[in-house]
């Protein structure tokens, strides 16, 4: 479904009525064009719509090995359609996500305090801790919205396979046994738990949602449990 589709916008309208209050600030979209990518775009569209409806200024960025503006800083209802159009046209780019580098770039571009909402799976090879520490130091109101795919949490591979990194296209041969499956599932669970603990420690809002969830439900969950709405 297109982000500029009337039915999608009407869903955003009803979402806006439900939400009562809006949020604004920089918006960064996950670069992946997978289910997580689609979900992150829909969430960004919904949150951006709410912000623009409330006449908040939004600065959406796509994030990979660098920050890439989705649209120029926008404000007001008139920017809704251009924002949605630009968001829809945003595609994946770059290689490995370099979170710290992107945050440093954000720091250079925006010195004024605001609300920073990071929509991502937070599976960064270089980690997320330093980036979040920097965001905290910039005195932004930061919220991490983690979108994880159910397939990422479970290892469905078995036997001899050739693993390929979707970002770098690197390949390696692996024999996946029960032990590897257990190690992987523990590693991903530990990673997500570490993100949650880091956010708690740094007083950063944190919410995780699944790419299999309907985006309206995800938004309502975010607003209700994330403390983004009063």
């Amino acid at each position: 479904m297109s982000l500029t589709d009337p039915s999608f916008i009407s869903r955003l309208e009803s979402l806006f009525l439900t939400a009562r209050r809006v949020l604004g600030g920089s918006l960064q979209a996950d670069r992946k064009s997978t289910r997580k990518g689609i979900q992150s775009k829909q969430l960004a569209a919904a949150l951006g719509y709410i912000s623009l409806n409330c006449h908040d200024r939004i600065v959406p960025y796509a994030m990979a090995d660098k920050l890439q503006p989705i649209i120029e800083p926008s404000r007001g209802r008139g920017a809704i359609l251009p924002f949605l159009r630009s968001l829809e046209q945003t595609d994946t780019f770059g290689s490995d996500t370099q979170f710290l580098k992107c945050i440093k770039e954000l720091q250079a571009r925006h010195t004024k305090k605001g609300v920073v909402l990071v929509i991502s799976d937070f599976l960064y090879p270089d980690g997320f801790d330093e980036g979040l520490r920097l965001l905290q130091g910039m005195k932004h109101d930061t919220f991490c919205l983690q979108i994880h795919d159910p397939e990422d949490l479970k290892c469905e591979y078995k036997g001899d396979i050739q693993l390929e990194c979707v970002e770098t296209k690197k390949r390696t041969k692996v024999t996946v046994t029960k032990k590897e499956v257990q190690s992987y599932e523990k590693a991903i669970a530990d990673w997500n738990e570490k993100l949650r603990k880091t956010c708690v420690k740094r007083e950063i809002g944190y919410l995780s949602t699944s790419s299999g969830m309907e985006f309206e439900d995800a938004i309502i969950q975010i607003i209700r449990t994330g403390g983004l709405a009063g």
Binding site: D121, C165, T172
Partner: protein, 259 residues
């Protein structure tokens, strides 16, 4: 080590396609992941086992080859012990005493069964020939007594001679002769038999002198009745009771009247 079915050793040629399959190797399927760095961490932890992982494919090849070799060898029926692979000549004693019943079965039938058993235990490359004679035992004895014995000695290198008998022999078989003796019964059977007989008509008389020599294979003397049966009249002409001592007896003479 010898093989009873050496034809199955051709199965070892199956190792060639096995090696070919190993060298060709099936390319594993590609799975894309966006958690590469996590897999990288997991695989790093396993680096200590990298030597094993390198050897694992080689070990699997060795295992496959081992299976092929073992299957081929087992089908070819190897023999590790020094089994007698000579051809067999079986001689069955068919003397009258072999008609005697042993546990309700004629001795000759037991001898045939023994011969069958020997033949079935032979390997596929071994041959067997079988002979029977009413005078088999005597023939063997003659062989033993003559120069043929030397021939038997030399033949025994290529031929295994088996003599199946009830053990009731009227002669001594040379123990040194390379002949396997197979008894049809575990216990030594007692037998009394005529080993020599003759009849001479008396000149100027209708009577005849009969000579009979008996042998008793038992350990005790036994009394037997000797019937002189006339085929022409189909009647018993004379009935004589003879006490047969153990072993070979002296010739017994008696007169047959109006013979």
């Amino acid at each position: 080590m010898t093989f009873l079915n050496p034809g199955f050793l051709w199965g070892l040629l199956l190792t060639i396609p096995v090696i070919a399959v190993y060298l060709l190797k099936v390319k594993p399927r590609v799975e894309k992941t966006n958690t590469w760095f996590l897999w990288d961490q997991i695989l790093e932890e396993r680096q200590s086992n990298s030597l094993f992982s390198k050897l694992r494919n080689f070990l699997s090849l060795l295992l496959m080859l081992l299976v092929v070799v073992l299957v081929s060898l087992s089908l070819s029926n190897p023999i590790f012990s020094k089994r007698d692979t000579r051809d067999v000549f079986i001689l069955i004693d068919q003397s009258v005493s072999m008609n005697g019943m042993i546990d309700g079965e004629p001795g000759i039938e037991i001898a045939k069964e023994k011969a069958r058993s020997i033949i079935s235990s032979l390997g596929t490359s071994q041959r067997a020939s079988i002979a029977d004679s009413k005078a088999a035992g005597r023939a063997v004895a003659k062989m033993a007594q003559s120069q043929v014995a030397e021939n038997i000695e030399s033949a025994s290198g290529e031929l295994r001679i088996v003599f199946i008998s009830d053990g009731c022999l009227d002669f001594e078989l040379d123990e040194k002769l390379p002949i396997e003796r197979v008894a049809i019964s575990e216990s030594q059977r007692e037998n009394i038999g005529i080993v020599a007989a003759d009849i001479q008509p008396k000149i100027g008389s209708a009577d005849a002198t009969v000579m009979v020599q008996l042998v008793n294979s038992g350990k005790e003397a036994k009394s037997v009745e000797l019937e002189i049966f006339c085929e022409k009249t189909q009647s018993i002409e004379e009935l004589i009771e003879i006490n047969v001592l153990a072993g070979s007896n002296k010739p017994h003479f008696f007169t047959l009247k109006d013979s």
